[in-house]
C-alpha cells in the first residue's frame, strides 16, 4: 500500500488568509447567510430580527459572536469569505474601505491615505501605442 505523502505546505503570507476547503467547511453557515442577502427581503428580515435570522442559518456560536460584534477578522476566523461578507457589510452601510480600516486597525482616513500612497510605487513608463 502506498504511503500517504503530505502535500507541500506553502509558507503563510502575513496578514493573509487563504479561503481553502477547511475555511469553506467551517464558514459554510455564515457564508450561506451572507449569500442570502442578495435578496432585499432577506436583508430586511435580518435587520428586523438578527438573532432569528442567524438561527435560521444555523450559525455557530463563534460566527454569531463575530456578527454581533461586527468584527470582520473574527468573521474570517470563523470561516467567512470576504466576497460574501461584503454583502453583510453592505447592510451596515460599510464599504470595503471601512472594512479594510477595521481589519488593519487604522482610521478610515488613514486607510484611504495608505491606498493613495500605493500610487507612488508605480514604475514610470511611456504609454504604449502600436
Amino acid at each position: 500500500m502506498a504511503s500517504q505523502v503530505a502535500p507541500p505546505i506553502a509558507p503563510p503570507i502575513p496578514g493573509t488568509h487563504i479561503f481553502d476547503g477547511a475555511a469553506a467547511q467551517k464558514g459554510y453557515a455564515l457564508n450561506a447567510m451572507c449569500f442570502s442577502f442578495n435578496e432585499a427581503a432577506n436583508r430586511d428580515a435580518f435587520l428586523h430580527d438578527e438573532d432569528a435570522y442567524c438561527d435560521r442559518f444555523g450559525l455557530t456560536p463563534q460566527q454569531r459572536d463575530a456578527v454581533a460584534q461586527r468584527n470582520v477578522l473574527a468573521m474570517m476566523a470563523a470561516g467567512g469569505n470576504i466576497y460574501y461578507l461584503a454583502k453583510l457589510a453592505g447592510i451596515f452601510g460599510l464599504n470595503v474601505q471601512d472594512v479594510g480600516a477595521q481589519q488593519t486597525g487604522m482610521s478610515v482616513d488613514a486607510f484611504k491615505q495608505m491606498l493613495l500612497d500605493n500610487a507612488a510605487a508605480i514604475p514610470t513608463r511611456e504609454t504604449a501605442r502600436g
Binding site: A10, I13, P14, G15, T16, H17, I18, F19, D20, G21, A24, Y28, N31, A32, C34, F35, F37, N38, E39, A40, R43, V72, L73, M76, N81, I82, Y83, Y84, L85, A86, K87, G90, I91, N95, V96, Q97, V99, G100, Q103, T104, F111, M114, L115, L116, N118, A119, A121, I122, P123, R125, T127, A128, R129, G130
Partner: protein, 295 residues
C-alpha cells in the same frame, strides 16, 4: 469564417457600477479611471465586435459554495444581472450565443477540460460592468459567451491551466464556422486585497510585470503558483487568472493598443488594456488607409 479581433482587459470593482449609476465619471476621484475608456471605445468603433467571450469570476451571485465549478461555460440564450446585496440597479446584459457556447464546450471537453455547463446563469458585476464601460449607451450590441473561473474557493486553477483553457477556446474560435467578429474580455484585478490584516495591499511592480508581458509573453505570468500570485497580487489580485485565460483565447501574436493604470479605485489598482490580433491590425490599417485616401 469568424474573425477574432482582440481583447479588452479591465478591472471590475463594484464601486465602478456605483459611479456609473451616480454619473460620477468626471469627479476627480473617478476621472483617471474613466479616461481610459474613450480610446477603448474608439477601437471598438473601428472593429465592431458582434460577440464577446467574457472571462470573469462570479462573486456570489450565480455560484455559492454549495456548487463551485472551477471552469463554468454559459450556454444560455439569455443572461441576467441581479441585486448582489447592495441594492444597485442591475445593468442590462446582452443575449447569449448558444450555438457558439456549445461549439466552445465541445472543443474544451475534447481538449480534456472538465467544465461545467450552465443553461441558466446570472452574471455579476464582473461581467456587467466591463460591458457597461465598453458600451455606456445601454445594452451592449453584442452576444456573449460567459466563462466563469473560480477565484473564490481554493484550490484555484493554476495560471498555466487558465492560459491553456484560453488557448483551447482559441482553437474553438478558429474552427467556428460562423462569420461573426469576435472579441474577448478578461476582467478583474489588478492587485488588491480586501481581507485580512494586509487589506489594502497593492503591488504596482507585479501589475506592471503582468501588463508588460500580457501581450508578448503570457507564459511569463504562468511561472508563479496561485499561492505566489496571492502573495504578489493580494487575495483578490488572483483575478489576474481571468486576464490570463482571456489572453490565451487570442492566439500567439497580439499588439498592445492601449493601456491605463491608476491607483486607487476603491481598494484596487485599476487597469484597462486593449490588445489586438494581427487580423484586426491589418483590417484597422486598411480602414485607416481607405479613410486617408478619401480625405
Amino acid at each position: 469564417m469568424a474573425k477574432v479581433i482582440g481583447g479588452v482587459f479591465t478591472s471590475h470593482v463594484p464601486a465602478i457600477g456605483g459611479a456609473i449609476h451616480r454619473g460620477a465619471q468626471n469627479e476627480p476621484y473617478w476621472k483617471p479611471f474613466f479616461d481610459a475608456w474613450p480610446p477603448v471605445r474608439e477601437w471598438l468603433g473601428e472593429q465592431v465586435p458582434e460577440v464577446v467571450i467574457m472571462f470573469y469570476n462570479d462573486h456570489g451571485l450565480n455560484f455559492f459554495l454549495d456548487k463551485m465549478p472551477t471552469f463554468a461555460v454559459g450556454a444560455a440564450a439569455k443572461y441576467r444581472n441581479e441585486d448582489e446585496g447592495w441594492g444597485l440597479p442591475p445593468f442590462p446584459v446582452p443575449p447569449g450565443h448558444p450555438d457558439l457556447s456549445w461549439a466552445i464546450i465541445e472543443k474544451l471537453v475534447a481538449e480534456e477540460f472538465d467544465i461545467t455547463t450552465c443553461q441558466d446563469m446570472l452574471v455579476d458585476h464582473a461581467a456587467s460592468i466591463p460591458l457597461a464601460l465598453a458600451w455606456p449607451a445601454g445594452e451592449a450590441p453584442v452576444k456573449i459567451v460567459p466563462i466563469a473561473i473560480n477565484t473564490v474557493q481554493h484550490p484555484l486553477p493554476s495560471a498555466k491551466r487558465c492560459l491553456a483553457l484560453g488557448r483551447a477556446v482559441a482553437k474553438a474560435l478558429a474552427e467556428w464556422q460562423g462569420d461573426e467578429t469576435i472579441m474577448v474580455m478578461g476582467t478583474g484585478g489588478l492587485s488588491h486585497q480586501l481581507d485580512g490584516e494586509r487589506a489594502g495591499f497593492m503591488n504596482p511592480e507585479y501589475d506592471t510585470f503582468c501588463m508588460d508581458n500580457l501581450s508578448v509573453d503570457p507564459d511569463a505570468l504562468t511561472r508563479h503558483s496561485v499561492h505566489e500570485i496571492v502573495e504578489l497580487s493580494g487575495t483578490q489580485g488572483v483575478e489576474i487568472l481571468n486576464w490570463i485565460a482571456a489572453r490565451g483565447a487570442l492566439g500567439d501574436k497580439v499588439h498592445e493598443v492601449s493601456r491605463s493604470y491608476h491607483i486607487p479605485i476603491s481598494n484596487t489598482a485599476a487597469a484597462v488594456m486593449v490588445l489586438e490580433t494581427e487580423a484586426a491590425r491589418a483590417a484597422g490599417k486598411a480602414g485607416a488607409e481607405k479613410t486617408a485616401e478619401l480625405a
